[in-house]
């Protein structure tokens, strides 16, 4: 579904990505871990062109998103993104947050968008919050709503940028549970996270990034029990 070819990204003189080659197939749950500064967030943000690659190609469902002629807005409708800081729209209610994009982009009528939103809210047990404003909700609630806001667009892939890093520990669980549910339903996911437990349970493949490159990757069992790259061994020793 996503093919990344020789992706590099430099911010000024700082080379953050030094040549990534990777393919992500439908149904995969790819988890990306690594030390800070390794470029994992940048890599993720390149996938929906929130960051413009310095060089290299990214093909999404057959379209080269790095080509300026491509209609990136249309393609982004098929990619859902979840941010560390939720980024809910504070001036809109929860319901409006979820229905804004589908209605504005004329993908659904207002009624069907609201019905869809209601169903999604029901799924996470927050139906009574439909008319509330984001600032009235806890972090965990906000992030779960951010996730279903992205889901309301019926994306083909969901990108998660450290979705639980800004949450109080007691709320991390409810978000991971939602993500687990999505994974079980077959959603293609790319997740940047520090949550090793989640990675072990949900990932089909784990990538270890360091210094702008993918240094090792493996399915979870092998990844955690038999790391080969010395940097990865180091990293795991510290975090596990």
């Amino acid at each position: 579904m996503i093919a990344v070819n020789e992706l590099t990204k430099a911010f000024g003189g700082n080379k953050v990505l030094r040549g990534i080659n990777e393919t992500i197939e439908q149904g995969e749950k790819v988890v990306v871990i690594g030390p800070s500064g390794s470029g994992k967030s940048t890599f993720l943000r390149c996938l929906n062109l929130l960051e413009k690659p310095t060089s290299g190609k990214i093909i999404f469902e057959g379209y080269d998103i790095t080509d300026p002629a491509t209609d990136i807005n249309k393609l982004r409708q098929k990619m859902g993104m979840v941010f560390q800081n939720f980024n809910l729209f504070p001036h809109l209610t929860v319901l409006e947050n979820i229905t804004l994009a589908p209605v504005t982009l004329e993908l659904m009528s207002r009624e069907s968008a609201e019905k869809n939103a209601a169903a999604l809210l029901e799924r996470i047990g927050l139906s009574d919050k439909a008319g509330a404003y984001p600032r009235h909700l806890s972090g965990g609630q906000q992030q779960r709503i951010a996730i279903i806001r992205a889901l309301a667009m019926n994306p083909d892939v969901m990108l998660f940028d450290e979705p639980t890093s800004a949450l109080d520990p007691e709320m991390v669980g409810e978000v991971l549970e939602l993500m687990r549910g999505l994974a079980n339903e077959g959603m293609t996911m790319v997740v940047v996270t520090h949550e090793m437990g989640f990675a072990r349970e949900v990932a089909t493949r784990i990538l270890f990034m360091d210094e702008g490159l993918i240094k090792e990757q493996a399915p979870p069992a092998e990844f955690f029990s038999a790391p080969k790259n010395p940097r990865l061994q180091d990293f795991l020793a510290k975090v596990l």
Binding site: K74, R76, Q77, M81, N85, F89, T104
Partner: protein
């Protein structure tokens, strides 16, 4: 008692005699119309300029429009509003009838205000967290939809106090409209003064301005308090 007597007589002569209060009423009407009109024009213009400059900053496009905006703001900020008013009324709208003068003045003040307000709005847009734009774009909304539906509403809320301040400043700035014979509050005082040959009408004008500014300021404070409260709750 003599003092009070004098005061009341003067007050009577200034305001009530020969229906002189009618001048003040006309003055208040024109001043308020110009203030509100100029504020609205200024905000619309300010948003336009702010968007062009922000877009150019982000994407490098719209070079000509951006240059045009810069020339415009430089000229407006570099000349007194009175001179701008005179040029607009006597040179640009030279054939307009004199009864259009208050509206032309409102336009002139609005064009002036826009140049300053654009900076405020640009700051307001800048102050909206980048993550908001990223979230909007990630959902597939394009630049203008994201700006219109997500960024601008939040920016306006941030800069509402500054916009109110600008309106209060405009209220006082319109006092030069008398130069093109618009009967605003100041000119009303002038006209009564010319019939009375004392300066007390000017005091009446000053008091009217004061009352209006204090009223507007307290409305502004009320709005600020409401916004702060809703943010906290």
């Amino acid at each position: 008692m003599q003092f009070v007597d004098n005061f009341l007589t003067t007050l009577y002569k200034t305001v009530l005699a020969e229906n002189r209060w009618r001048f003040y009423l006309e003055g208040i009407g024109n001043t308020l119309m110009m203030t509100v009109g100029a504020s609205l024009i200024g905000i619309v213009l300010g948003i336009l300029i702010a968007m062009i400059k922000t877009h150019h900053n982000n994407s490098g496009k719209m070079r000509f429009l951006n240059w045009l905006c810069n020339v415009y703001t430089t000229v407006i900020r570099g000349t007194p509003v009175l001179v701008q008013l005179l040029i607009i009324y006597y040179m640009i709208f030279s054939s307009a009838s004199s009864s259009a003068a208050p509206y032309i003045a409102a336009l002139a003040f609005g064009l002036n205000s826009g140049a300053y307000v654009s900076e405020t709005i640009r700051g307001g847009i800048q102050s909206v967290d980048k993550g908001q734009t990223e979230a909007g774009r990630s959902l597939g909304l394009n630049q203008s939809q994201t700006m219109r539906l997500i960024v601008l509403p939040q920016a306006v809320k941030n800069i509402l106090p500054a916009l109110f301040n600008e309106m209060i400043m405009l209220l006082k700035e319109t006092s030069v409209a008398g130069w093109i014979q618009v009967v605003d509050i100041t000119r009303a005082g002038d006209i009564v003064r010319s019939r009375m040959w004392s300066f007390s009408p000017l005091l009446v004008s000053a008091v009217i301005y004061l009352v209006l500014v204090v009223a507007l300021t307290s409305v502004q404070r009320m709005i600020e308090r409401r916004l702060a409260a809703s943010d906290r709750s």
